[in-house]
């Protein structure tokens, strides 16, 4: 780990008057990046990218997954070093060796995955990594400072709360406070609304406006067109590592313009959503209640149904009970109430029993729940079938038929792995997810429970996952789709159930669904209607 710094961070001149005083020229840009190139093995993530950020603006960086947005910002935040290119902050050339250098120059990034210590308090997390206090932690004093700072930017937070007690939205506030406490004048936010409910997002936008009003600048990474137009002053669009539009003012831009710049083709995935005749009820959840790991109520008398040939989407903001819902259905957690699969009770039965009832499961964590990383592709593909012939031969596993099965799946589902003996930790996210789906689909389940099936995948992989789900639906399977991507649910599902604080607060056919209403339901704004 190197801590070296090729150039010292420039001293920040706190008032913009200074710039004017130094000769009446236009104030230097807050950030100016020229000709940035960054390669990863097999990928040219940034190809001669230019980017500039003015003081006091919200600048959106728009692009699909894999377009190179996060790479560019990780370079600005000191996490990666560019292979070529130049970065200026307040007019001075910088070369960051670590995020610490970037922060010293006033650049702070809030990542999509928070970097907080769950067992520590808000204040402790904010102090983490700082040079002051020098030795003794004076908690009262720091807590007061944090409270003041939060108030100044209109953020509600208890400085003494422990992180694990906080909602995701509150945790995001801690991340922002962390940067502000370090004197960040430029805040980079990586898809900040992905984890927020619409109302929480509004709070965030208000905070960001307070910041820009003080002369701070914000980079807002997103792939959601609506919110980009709502919050940003200007937008830079990237596609496949290149900038397709630089610093376009949002005033006057339309969603259609941005969409074309972003994908270079029609935005709408052409999904084959043929009509499927609905069959009998396959999954029938009746009044299920349960607690989560913290022994707080996770589900409160949840009832829902999924019929054969139907995809039901669960829309909810992170932490409203949908994250555990799959584990109650698949027998991984205990609950009270009744769950029927094809008429048979499965609640509180062992996972093996639920499996035998024809329930397939694509879990949220595909690298340590959905697969065993150091075992071969074959071992991973037989995970749900080693108990039955032909893979099982009495108490033995028949190696030859296991390999035949694995080879067949690799072929059919285009799993890019050198051989079926390859350890699955070496597969890319998309290939691993295809392998998991292949295994689950091939158990010919009556019901599939899929959680965040496309999180972190590139565009091509997302499409192939969506196709597989729709194909399953057309063969008459019932699918429960739990996703934080509302767009995904609206594109795939026939019905959407909205969850809030462990309850189903609304249920409607997607054809009649209206985003505004779903958003309201997701935030508990319309509870009586449920």
């Amino acid at each position: 780990m190197t801590d070296s710094l090729d150039a010292p961070p420039p001293e920040w001149a706190p008032s913009s008057d200074d710039a004017a005083a130094t000769g009446g020229v236009a104030p230097p840009l807050a950030v100016e990046a020229r000709g940035i190139v960054k390669r990863f093995p097999g990928v040219l993530a940034n190809d001669l990218v230019d980017f500039d950020l003015r003081r006091g603006e919200v600048h959106a960086l728009l692009g699909e997954n894999g377009a190179g947005k996060s790479t560019l910002m990780n370079i600005l935040a000191g996490l990666y070093r560019p292979d070529a290119g130049e970065i200026r902050v307040d007019g001075m050339a910088v070369a960051f060796g670590s995020p610490r250098d970037a922060i010293a120059a006033g650049l702070g990034m809030v990542h999509q995955h928070f970097t907080l210590v769950p067992s520590q308090t808000v204040t402790e997390n904010i102090l983490l990594g700082l040079d002051r206090p020098r030795f003794l932690l004076r908690e009262r004093r720091s807590e007061a400072e944090v409270a003041d700072l939060a108030e100044r930017f209109g953020m509600r937070i208890d400085p003494r709360a422990r992180i694990w007690q906080l909602s995701v939205g509150e945790q995001q506030r801690v991340e922002i406070l962390k940067m502000l406490y370090r004197g960040a004048r430029i805040l980079i936010m990586d898809e900040p609304t992905a984890v927020l409910a619409p109302q929480e997002a509004d709070d965030l936008f208000a905070t960001l406006r307070t910041m820009t009003a003080e002369g701070r600048s914000v980079v807002f990474i997103s792939h959601k067109l609506g919110e980009v137009l709502a919050i940003a002053d200007r937008v830079t669009v990237m596609r496949r590592g290149k900038v397709t539009a630089a610093g376009l003012p949002t005033a006057g831009a339309t969603k259609a313009d941005l969409a074309r710049l972003m994908v270079g083709r029609s935005v709408l995935e052409s999904l084959d959503r043929s009509d499927v005749e609905l069959g009998p009820v396959v999954l029938d959840v009746q009044g299920v209640s349960a607690s989560n790991d913290r022994e707080l109520p996770a589900l409160r008398s949840v009832s829902l149904q999924v019929r054969a040939g139907e995809i039901v989407g669960i829309a909810a903001v992170d932490g409203n009970g949908q994250g555990e819902l799959d584990e109650f259905i698949t027998g991984l957690r205990p609950c009270t109430g009744e769950i029927l699969v094809a008429g048979e009770p499965v609640a509180n039965r062992s996972a093996a029993t639920v499996l035998r009832q024809g329930v397939a499961h694509v879990p949220e964590d595909r690298t340590s729940v959905g697969s065993a990383p150091n075992l071969s592709l074959t071992d991973n593909l037989i995970m749900k079938r080693y108990r039955e012939a032909p893979v099982a031969r009495g108490w033995l596993v028949d190696d030859a038929s296991a390999r035949t099965l694995a080879d067949g799946l690799r072929e059919t589902y285009r799993i890019a792995a050198p051989t079926v003996d390859t350890e699955v930790r070496l597969l890319s996210g998309g290939n691993l997810q295809r392998a998991i789906l292949a295994r689950e689909i091939e158990t010919r389940p009556g019901l599939l429970v899929a959680v965040q099936p496309t999180r972190g995948l590139d565009v091509g992989a997302i499409e192939s996952v969506h196709r597989l789900l729709l194909e399953m639906r057309s063969t008459g399977a019932a699918i429960l789709l739990i996703s934080e991507e509302l767009d995904e649910i609206l594109a795939l599902a026939d019905r959407v159930d909205v969850m809030y604080e462990g309850r189903i607060v609304g249920s409607m056919p997607v054809a009649e669904a209206e985003i505004g209403r779903i958003g309201l339901l997701m935030t508990g704004g319309d509870e009586e209607a449920a």
Binding site: L79, M383, V397, G456
Partner: protein, 375 residues
């Protein structure tokens, strides 16, 4: 300068055995250096070990006698380690196995004068049952109460030691000595030398039936681990318990079963030792077979076939090491071998890259698959 580890995407077939061999050689060189530093003669020591363990058919036979309990305890550890279950209690389970077998003839639990063909299987069963029950304790504690099995098994080793001492100093003591009376001859495991009438070349060879127990157990364990559904489940649990649960496997139950089988194997080792060599129960029947087993299992990469080879090597070390001064040398060599083996493991899993100068990227090149934009 910057040292980085990059996961290997493909591992040549020869690499792992080559590195294992290299690790043993490096360990012997380091140990030799230490022996030289404390004033010994490493080359003479090593030659002595070689000569005193493999130099003639007679000593080779003695080596195999020492290797016999190591094969069985090594298998016990290999089985548990496959599931990442750290059974460090093979020593205690060995002792309990010896005690259980002894109990059959010393209490006695069976009428005197039973023929060997009945008595020996009974003592095997008793030894395996006692070792298995001793193994069950940490298994149940871990499965039910989440108690760390390393601490539990280690403490049970000490308790087993005092348990044996109680019996050999107390109720079973022969004339106040720290040993019991000898077992009836029917209980002795047949030795090669017993066949000297038929095959004169076998005269004086002490290898006993216990070796066959070890070889058969290795074969059965191989079948169990590599080919059975249970073996597959153990592999799955060992790699990712959460994935195993997701696949519908009851981990707690597997854990208890594995601990019981592991304990039974170590218990069989104890039975084989008292019935095959000392023919009575006494204090100090184990020079640490249960601890050496940890290294045997590790050297064998938890594979039953290789456990046999590793056990023979360490059997030689224990046999010949007794005469080597200073007395801690064999134990020291074992520790160093274990260290070089785990460092060698790193070389099998990762490619070591050394960058000079400041041109190293800040980006984590060690990340398994650098997806430039995750989500």
């Amino acid at each position: 300068m910057n040292v980085r580890l990059e996961p290997r995407t493909a591992t040549p077939r020869w690499l792992s055995p080559a590195i294992t061999f290299g690790a043993v050689v490096v360990a012997l060189v380091i140990s030799g250096a230490i022996i030289a530093i404390v004033g010994g003669d490493p080359i003479r020591s090593y030659l002595h070990i070689l000569d005193a363990s493999f130099g003639s058919v007679g000593v080779l036979s003695d080596t195999l006698v020492k290797a016999t309990p190591l094969i069985l305890t090594g298998l016990a550890c290999a089985l548990a380690f496959r599931m990442r279950l750290w059974n460090i209690g093979a020593e205690g389970q060995f002792l309990l196995g010896a005690w259980g077998a002894s109990a059959v003839v010393l209490f006695p639990l069976v009428p005197a004068g039973l023929p060997g063909i009945v008595l020996i299987p009974l003592m095997m069963l008793a030894g395996m049952a006692a070792g298995g029950l001793w193994g069950l304790i940490p298994g149940v504690l871990r499965a039910r109460l989440g108690v760390n099995e390393i601490i539990a098994t280690l403490m049970l080793n000490y308790i087993a030691l005092f348990w044996i001492q109680f019996w050999v100093f107390g109720p079973w003591s022969q004339g106040g000595f720290q040993q019991t009376k000898p077992f009836p001859e029917a209980a002795w495991l047949p030795r090669l030398t017993d066949l000297a009438d038929v095959v004169p070349a076998f005269g004086g060879l002490t290898v006993h039936l216990g070796l066959l127990f070890g070889l058969v157990a290795a074969g059965l364990l191989w079948l169990f681990l590599e080919r059975s559904r249970f073996g597959y489940e153990i592999r799955l649990i060992g790699d990712s318990p959460r994935a195993a649960r997701y696949a519908g496997i009851d981990i707690g139950r597997r854990l208890v079963v594995v601990f019981a089988i592991s304990g039974a194997l170590a218990g069989l080792a104890g039975m084989s030792e008292v019935n095959g060599t000392v023919h009575r129960l006494q204090d100090h029947i184990s020079p640490g077979y249960g601890f050496t087993a940890v290294i045997v299992a590790y050297l064998a990469k938890f594979r039953p076939g290789r456990v046999i080879v590793a056990a023979i090597l360490f059997g030689a070390l224990i046999l010949a090491g007794r005469e080597i001064q200073p007395s801690g040398v064999p134990s020291m060599i074992q520790g160093i071998i274990l260290f070089t083996l785990i460092v060698g493991d790193v070389l099998v899993r990762y490619r070591v890259r050394i960058d000079r100068g400041g041109g190293a990227p800040v980006a984590p090149s060690a990340a398994a698959t650098p997806t430039p934009e995750a989500g």
